[in-house]
């Protein structure tokens, strides 16, 4: 706060003495929002696991009779998959204590239900079958053979780590899907956020940023301007840079001048590139 206050005082002071009109420019903070959810910390993962286990433990017994009619083939398949727990015999010493059986469930524990599927999970396969699948994977460029038209096929989610991550491609919009990426460009051998000078001091800040972006990056950019209000001001030698925030939604940044280098970086990576990072650190998202 003190910094801002002193800035204000300095500003007034300089205005009254030197009558120069300051050069106004818009700086664009163009961000790519995260595509996937953030990576959880170890503690969060363990906490959510524990909470889920409590929730499962306190669930009611699965009403099998409602979903599988007695004597049907579906019930038979269900029974083959879900073997009921052992019966209670007072003469037996149970290593896990006396069971409390109701409707085929030991009510002291959570209930594991297996639904009939057209494929088998890894823990249900024998060693030979696993070997066979792995051989198939090798033949098929490391991917499992799955009929993509089959509606009951096994669901395998896409990898959270993309090719751009593996190739360490700074220019790709597909890297670090779980983080917000920011565009920086290289001008005169130094990395900066794209800045556009307002020559006539008449175009509004956000329009200036838009036209400037199209000028340096081509017009194949679909972007959303968060607000017309600048989120930060940087003053230096009668120059005033107003920061405008935008999100890129689709499209691609293609430098019109091939010499101009650019990068899409996360907040932590920006630290090494931008000289005045500490001043504008709060403008970038933690996620």
């Amino acid at each position: 706060m003190n910094k801002h206050l002193s800035n204000g005082i300095l500003r007034k002071y300089s205005q009254s003495t030197t009558n120069n009109i300051p050069k106004i420019s818009s700086t664009l903070i163009l961000s790519r929002l995260p595509v996937i959810t953030t990576e959880l910390s170890k503690f969060e993962k363990l906490f959510y696991k524990y909470q889920e286990e409590l929730w499962r433990r306190l669930m009611w017994t699965f009403p099998k009779w409602f979903y599988f009619n007695q004597g049907t083939l579906a019930e038979l398949r269900y029974k083959q998959l879900n073997k009921g727990s052992m019966s209670y015999d007072p003469k037996i010493l149970y290593p896990r204590g006396i069971p409390d059986l109701k409707q085929g469930r030991d009510r002291r524990f959570r209930q594991y239900i297996k639904a009939p599927k057209p494929y088998k999970e890894i823990d249900e396969l024998s060693q030979e079958q696993i070997k066979e699948i792995e051989e198939q994977k090798l033949k098929n460029n490391g991917e499992e053979l799955i009929n993509k038209d089959d509606l009951t096929r096994k669901i395998i989610p896409n990898q959270r780590v993309t090719k751009a991550d593996l190739n360490k491609d700074d220019k790709s919009l597909e890297r670090r899907l779980e983080r917000t990426l920011y565009l920086i460009i290289k001008v005169n051998d130094s990395w900066i956020l794209p800045t556009f000078e307002n020559e006539k001091n008449s175009t509004s800040l956000h329009e200036l940023a838009e036209s400037g972006l199209y000028k340096i990056g081509g017009d194949k950019i679909n972007y959303y301007n968060v607000s017309r209000i600048p989120c930060h001001v940087k003053e230096s030698n009668n120059n005033k840079e107003y920061f405008i925030k935008s999100h890129i939604l689709s499209g691609i940044y293609e430098p019109q001048d091939k010499k101009n280098d650019y990068k899409w970086l996360t907040k932590e990576e920006l630290k090494t590139y931008l000289p005045n990072f500490n001043e504008i650190e709060h403008l970038f998202s933690e996620v």
């Binding site: 170890k42 503690f43 363990l46 906490f47 696991k49 286990e53 896990r96 204590g97 006396i98 524990f109």
Partner: protein
């Protein structure tokens, strides 16, 4: 700096982080739990492998108990997070000089320690109250339940304002009668309980848990009053003092007044203990025990009070006493009252009429001695007197009619 100490029972937690709470060089050993509990607190509970919960005594129950899945892994990670936080607090503590902030930091550094929480939850009778964190936890526990019970009883049974105008308790007062052998009356007494006379025949053991007391010796006064003694002349009730103790020095460790201790410190007693012995057919009587802190350690003049009749309000203002806690039990006439009266050398108990009449008893009209009482000895006398009075009245009535 706080040393990392290798401890066998918490080896499983990894060696990287600072184990502030395992350090015994600077912290009191009372902040740790017993070894067997420690091992089942910091290791996974697996009864199949013989690592059952140490707090479960018998083999069968140990075998039957199963922890929720994932609790231990989540606990280990939580312990790391919390102890790192505590480490920061301990480092701040080394630089701090303000005593009030020091105590707050001491509390903050230990408030999440699972061992401290275990002790406060399950060993609360044997806590070391010199530790600020234990005082804080005990106070919290007391405020959550016992304080509310006490205030409810004091208000519904009108101890407030019948004895003193009001009370803002800052101390937990507990009483028990150690002479009892009946399991119903052995433990600490809940405020407002109705007790038979034999259960209160000996002076009580009083524990005063003063949460404002910070490891200092303070002087306390204890008064036991009965505001339900019938005063027939004034057609009201008066207050009697049944037990009076002054200038009792207590601290956080030595916080209990025992009758044995008083035998050697008789100058503390301003009025000997006399149990309440309610008369037959009277409503219940309240034994109100008030505990006061003597302001600025000033001693109350030891002047033994001769008469039982007592004005508690006057006594409190005269001696500048600060009420910090109270307790209460109730008594009715029961079969043991007569024997207790004999034990304390009191005359035989009086028997009242079953109902209290709207109008006061006109002692002049009755021309009989007060207190108006019937017992087997004087019953005859009173009946005779009453019949004489009736005869006189009838005679006068007849005469006036004939005239």
């Amino acid at each position: 700096m706080i040393k990392t100490i290798q401890n066998k029972s918490i080896k499983s937690l990894g060696k990287r982080f600072v184990r502030v709470w395992a350090d015994t060089s600077k912290r009191s050993s009372s902040l740790n739990v017993a070894e067997d509990i420690k091992s089942s607190l910091f290791n996974e509970i697996t009864p199949e492998n013989g690592n059952g919960a140490a707090s479960i005594p018998d083999y069968e129950s140990k075998l039957r108990y199963h922890s929720p899945i994932g609790i231990h892994e989540a606990f280990e990670e939580s312990y790391k997070i919390l102890s790192e936080d505590a480490n920061v607090k301990y480092q701040q503590l080394e630089k701090e000089t303000d005593p009030k902030k020091i105590e707050n930091l001491q509390i903050e550094a230990e408030q999440y320690n699972p061992e401290v929480l275990y002790n406060a939850e399950f060993n609360h009778d044997s806590l070391n109250k010199t530790q600020p964190i234990y005082r804080q936890l005990l106070q919290k526990k007391w405020q959550d339940k016992d304080l509310m019970i006490l205030m409810q009883r004091l208000e519904t049974m009108h101890v407030i304002p019948d004895t003193l105008p009001t009370l803002n308790p800052t101390a937990d007062v507990k009483i028990k009668f150690n002479h009892n052998t009946d399991p119903r009356f052995i433990g600490w007494i809940e405020p407002g309980t109705k007790l038979p006379a034999f259960a209160v025949s000996q002076p009580p053991t009083i524990q005063i848990n003063d949460f404002e007391n910070k490891n200092q010796d303070e002087l306390y006064t204890v008064l036991l009053v009965n505001p339900d003694v019938p005063d027939l002349h004034a057609n009201t009730y008066q207050t009697n003092l049944h037990y009076g103790l002054v200038n009792i020095s207590l601290n956080n460790i030595n916080d209990t007044i025992k009758p044995q201790w008083l035998l050697n410190n008789e100058d503390c007693i301003i009025q000997d203990y006399l149990p309440l012995t309610p008369f037959k057919n009277l409503p219940y009587q309240r034994a109100c025990l008030w505990v006061f802190k003597q302001n600025g350690r000033s001693e109350v003049t030891k002047k033994s009070i001769k008469s039982r009749s007592f004005d508690i309000g006057k006594f409190v203002t005269q001696n500048n006493l600060n009420p910090i806690g109270a307790h209460l039990w109730r008594q009715e006439f029961d079969r043991s009252v007569n024997s207790i009266r004999e034990m304390y050398g009191l005359p035989k108990g009086e028997v009242f009429l079953k109902f209290r009449h709207d109008e006061p008893i006109n002692t002049e009209f009755l021309r009989i001695e007060l207190p108006y009482k019937f017992n087997n000895e004087n019953r005859h006398k009173y009946e005779k007197q009453a019949s004489e009075i009736e005869a006189v009245a009838e005679k006068e009535h007849n005469e006036s009619e004939s005239n």
